[in-house]
Symmetry: D2
Subunit: 383 residues, 4 copies
């Protein structure tokens, strides 16, 4: 994996992700896994005491444990050994202000999805990224899986011919009862419009399914019809969403996201069908990709196995049959972001496949349009 | 299986199903499998020579090889040893007239789906069935699978609680290219509006998925939004259909049927989610039913295995681990129909789970409404 | 399926298979499924009253319901419309005498496995078959599955290169407790040495696994080491068997059969590996065959699908995705036997793939050698 | 995951694992994943130049990049900030001398498997560990998977009752051709008796399968019969091994390891059957465990899902449906070893489930006995 030109480890800060959080810990493992970052600063919680304590947990020096992201952005921008990049892993409503603060401080940003809770905020951030030229990565982490990269490459290279049908789904079951009334912080903020934005399961997971469909096929949406529903009495945001999609090239799609479907843990799945073949991938069994060339027996392509292409190999750590999972895929985005940041620092900005601020705007538009269609009765609207 | 009171074998006639046909052979195996019928008469093809030759193939006596269904209905009604029942296995456009003829001749009917190509015809047939009191079975054959019976029974008994979400799909790939231009009789009539009716894949397979959702859940549709599309250039009927469904109890559903999705052979699948659990069944692996009670590990229920209920056991021939398939499920409808016919002949009409003429009307309404919604742009309409 | 030259239905008799039996009913469906036989005579039970009652259940005429197989063989041989063939579906200890009686009466035989309970009896039967020239089919029914035929053909055609490793297994769980003490007739005779012969699970199911390995690969055994064991206290025959195998070509194998392995219903499975590729087939999911050419992505070959070869197509009734199962595979042996009998009657004996009396001798030798090795401590002995 | 008492990161050294190596990189990710170690020293290659270059790749300071493990053991033992532990990731023949050197220097050891190439060396190491009281972990990494921990705990708690049958297998296909003649360093040392020891696939992977069977069931072997074979012409060590096993409690087992079975990537799998139920786990799909209580429908237990027990939860990082894989399981052993080392340093030695030097001796005995049985013709010998 190394050719003797080992790059320095980047200095990373984190906003959110203190004690009790879920996704912050994932980001930290992801940052560490390929040894490309060291976590040196944090504004880990809105409560200053919890922020300090959390920082101590993570070997962050006392003077770089900040009480707020604003303080952190200012202080780190001033240090000679200031952070190269910040990870924003808060609930959705904080993304915009935090990202803005770091971009304005000249610090590269890695932000959890969805980008913002509002489309105009998203567009403002995109403007700021363009203006500053900084690296901005959005952690649609499922794009980091080798078999997803393989699928994307196969579609691009024409293995399926013109795409006709896209079936995307992301069901879960953990909100089948009113979990937000229990002592479940994850459920609480995700069902709270003031922290999650206007959508529930559409914003939390539907946006991942949409992003995955876009990532794999490269197609753009032209119209959408969405039927959002809240099944659990008293819940304030949607917990099930059915959508029909029309893509600009004439392809048709369906998208289902649900948090009330018992037996589904995190069952993100995509199926893509074209004139010449089909592909199927399931996140819970991520090391496999089923490829069905029309008129031939389906092939089971495995990560690292025969049939895996260069796009998959480029993001594969260990040999076939030694399963990689969610953390490795997440790490992949961090690693590619590190490459981009180093390239930027060397004055030679590089492209990558990591979702960026434009994908973030697109995702917020998806949420916005889904809510809009559903609000109008579920009929078709332009995207 | 036997209690010493073995019933006599019923005399069966067949309309359609001559040389070159597909589904006729399936019906004959289904009728024979449990030894409840003997095939003694037929109007097996529209061409009289082919009809005679086909009858000879099937050990049908020369004088009961008819040139038309009308001739057959009349002649058989006159015989003392006339047929007890007729199987109608023609292309769709013949169903109505043939079924009408036999009902009017006082002969019980087993008819392939969809019932008719037109909703008013369907309703007329339903009236005739009510008026005559005859047995009328519609071969939505997937309802004969033990694990489908199990699923239905579990839903009825409340194992899932109130139903919230239904995901039904039936993708195939055999019409991904313009197969009707090749010498494929099956493709030709199924893509021909004069023989199939107003819908292509919706009528051919979508109606099976719809029927299955209804059979398993017992719920009725209140609204539908359908996006039918023809992907293969020059094809005259839809080859892909996306639908969103709203059920009268508040449940939401999606239905996808496709004949242009490579890698899918006959991939009928249904998933049902309620407040208390979920169920999943796939036709291509029909001996399994996955049951996920909320908050417990999913159970793999097998046909004949521990966990199989009485509803499944009643339609199971051989022990667990000895797979039954499509033909056995199909046979089940014939066997239950034989029981109904015998009961009718003994003056004690019996109920059964076999889809009947009402289900047929419902299925034609489904096709009609799907075509209607799609024709109006794909928005919601009342069912 | 028909070419206008429909052969007459053969007249079939049955020995065993009366009320309460399992495999007799399977044989009857198998005989009927392709409409090649009519059951006209039977000595269905050792108890004459039960024999008569069972015959009535099956529409067998009163005068052809016999009290013993000897009586039946004599009477049917004398009738002008006597049976063409007999099915012997009794417990193992009756096979020899019954088969002998019918062969001596000039009647073709279809016999359940294992052929006999003793190797010298088996060899005697083989001699009688050779002497009479009659058709003798042994219902190693798993050889009738299309994907098994495909596997055999692929091995023969060299798709795997020289075979190196064979892993055969057949675990069940239904004898995990002392089921023979319950009112379970199936368990009783299968664990009774006077009716089953010297082996329990080895004879009941191990012999199927062995036959399947031989059928698919065509290889012959040179040495065997077997460790038979009885886990359930008080049981009189083995309920678990582990074996290592050495084949004449240098290939190595393992064979496991068990009736005390919870979670296994009828999990016959075979994996074959050669220099150039591997194959894997599981009886419980019989419509699939996984083919892994060395250095390429595995292919999922489906019955009737792309990738299915002529050997599979020849025994396939319905299109891909419409699962066939155990009864269809069983029926296949009956149908091919009917072809052989007709060819014999026309003076032009034909070959087929149906296991015959030689395979029966080979199977009894397998049982004998396994018991012998195990009795000597489990070491290697010549086959 | 943290309670505010974050322990300091341990200082780690590494022997082997320089450029071109495979397992060294895995160990480093495993050490880093839970943030419990920093790699500060290394003797990464036998060639001093490559050792230095490799150290630079890994951010190891120049003065701690050693030319040999002996030099490293001496120097690190002398430093105040010397390493807490060393990872030995060389080919097998170096394990003994390297482990001995570090133990004698008072440094805790993490060693790859198999422990040594010779049973007396293994026993000598065990003596040294006992004498020094140091922590010694052997990276039988598959024991770190949550579902393996769950299985072990279920067996111990009696969920299966007395164990009767154990089926362990570990097939691969990457040595199906003479890969060692290609430029494949991994193939070269693994097929070279001077570096691998007396066994090929038995030592490389069979020992993992054996360890897993022991880990999950806790049973000890009493007898073994092994048939080792080399299929690829010219290869110097076994590439396929079949074994029958007899356990001290009366259980029976089979073990198959192969590197010449096309279609198998890293298909380690274990099935355990007891009086009351069965368990099945496959390494390539490690987030699932199938549990079949006798007489009930099988349950699919998922990592983190309902049904997962405390033993699994203790080693689970992320929620159900977010797959963990090989690297996480490997990391688990490092993390638990860190806990043991810290406990040792605090004078309160702690137990853990991490395989240790005794398991290492047991594994070398397994290899030794397998080679011995096979050398004598494959018959049974005492373990």
């Amino acid at each position: 994996m190394s050719n003797g030109d080992t790059p320095r480890r980047l200095r990373l800060g984190m906003v959110g992700g203190g004690r009790g959080a879920f996704i912050g810990g994932v980001h930290r493992i992801a940052a560490r896994l390929d040894d490309r970052y060291e976590l040196v600063a944090g504004a880990l919680a809105s409560d200053p005491d919890r922020a300090k304590a959390s920082a101590a947990d993570l070997h962050i020096a006392r003077d770089r444990a900040y009480g707020s992201f604003a303080e952190m952005a200012a202080a780190e921008a001033d240090r000679e050994d200031g952070i190269d990049a910040v990870s924003i892993v808060t609930p959705n409503h904080v993304h915009f202000a935090a990202a803005k603060a770091f971009l304005e401080a000249g610090i590269h940003v890695i932000c959890d999805k969805p980008l913002t809770t509002d489309l105009s905020d998203a567009e403002a951030l995109a403007g700021l990224v363009e203006q500053t030229g900084l690296v901005f990565s959005l952690t649609h982490n499922y794009t980091g899986y080798p078999m997803v990269r393989q699928a994307r490459d196969m579609v691009r290279s024409g293995a399926l011919g013109e795409i006709r049908v896209i079936q995307a789904e992301y069901p879960q079951d953990w909100l089948s009862t009113k979990e937000e009334d229990a002592d479940n912080a994850q459920a609480q903020w995700r069902t709270d419009p003031t922290r999650s934005g206007p959508a529930g399961c559409v914003g939390d997971i539907g946006t991942h399914a949409y992003n995955l469909a876009r990532f794999v096929t490269g197609l753009t949406l032209s119209e959408i019809a969405a039927d959002l529903h809240t099944f659990v009495p008293g819940r304030r945001l949607d917990d099930n969403a059915h959508m029909m999609l029309r893509f600009a090239n004439g392809a048709k799609g369906m998208l289902w996201s649900s948090q009330v479907s018992p037996g589904n843990e995190n069952a993100l799945r995509i199926r893509v069908y074209g004139e010449k073949g089909g592909l199927e991938w399931s996140q819970e069994d991520p090391n496999y990709l089923t490829y069905s060339p029309l008129g031939e027996a389906p092939r089971l392509i495995t990560r690292g196995g025969p049939g895996a292409n260069d796009a998959a190999a480029a993001v594969t750590r260990i040999p076939s049959g030694h399963p990689e999972g969610y953390l490795e895929a997440f790490a992949q985005l961090y690693t590619e972001t590190a490459d981009m940041i180093l390239a930027h620092q060397q004055g030679a900005p590089a492209e990558s496949l990591v979702p960026n601020v434009s994908d973030g705007v697109d995702g917020v538009r998806f949420i916005t349009r889904a809510v809009e269609s559903s609000g109008k009765g579920g009929g078709w609207i332009a995207f």
